[in-house]
Amino acid sequence: AQTVTQSQPEMSVQEAETVTLSCTYDTSESDYYLFWYKQPPSRQMILVIRQEAYKQQNATENRFSVNFQKAAKSFSLKISDSQLGDAAMYFCAYGRNYGQNFVFGPGTRLSVLP
């Protein structure tokens, strides 16, 4: 079974600085998708960024970018120019197939300090 690990339960960053959240996963598959979701205190989960495993180029969405290392099964999220609104729980997720094969990590709580 696939597993997703986020080794940093909590992180903090100064406003306008850069922070990197770590994620590793375990799979024997070669074709899959990886995601970062954000969950603010409102509980609404929002997709931040998505990476297709067959693409070598790292995905980027404005201030958010990933460092996808397929061989190392690592998928870290970099947030540049951190803003107060970035404070939230961040979940790394793996998608290979339907249903139970979509797996979330335990999350990293990010605090942004003014």
Binding site: Y32, Y33, Y37, S42, R43, Q44, M45, I46, L47, R50, E52, F91, G95, R96, N97, Y98, G99, Q100, N101, F102, V103, F104, G105, P106, G107
Partner: protein, 116 residues
Amino acid sequence: GAGVSQSPSNKVTEKGKDVELRCDPISGHTALYWYRQSLGQGLEFLIYFQGNSAPDKSGLPSDRFSAERTGGSVSTLTIQRTQQEDSAVYLCASSPLAGGPGDTQYFGPGTRLTVL
């Protein structure tokens, strides 16, 4: 259009009672997921619906949990004889097309269930 909605937002119940949680997915989305999020934890898959296919129930923790999806739209998650360990936030998500691995899941705000 409107996003995924869930009701109630909060539910407090007594141990042993039955509860029903409702999810209204985004119109036209064929795939629907239910997850459970215990305090400070990640998301635990419960059940997945895709169109008219038989649902993937492999994540349901016990036979006290059941879910249905009527007309390929609204879904109801039912927990019978609730226990204190059922206390959690229950999240629903829908996605377009086949709900394949690359599809974005659009989440509702969740229902916080507290079992006293």
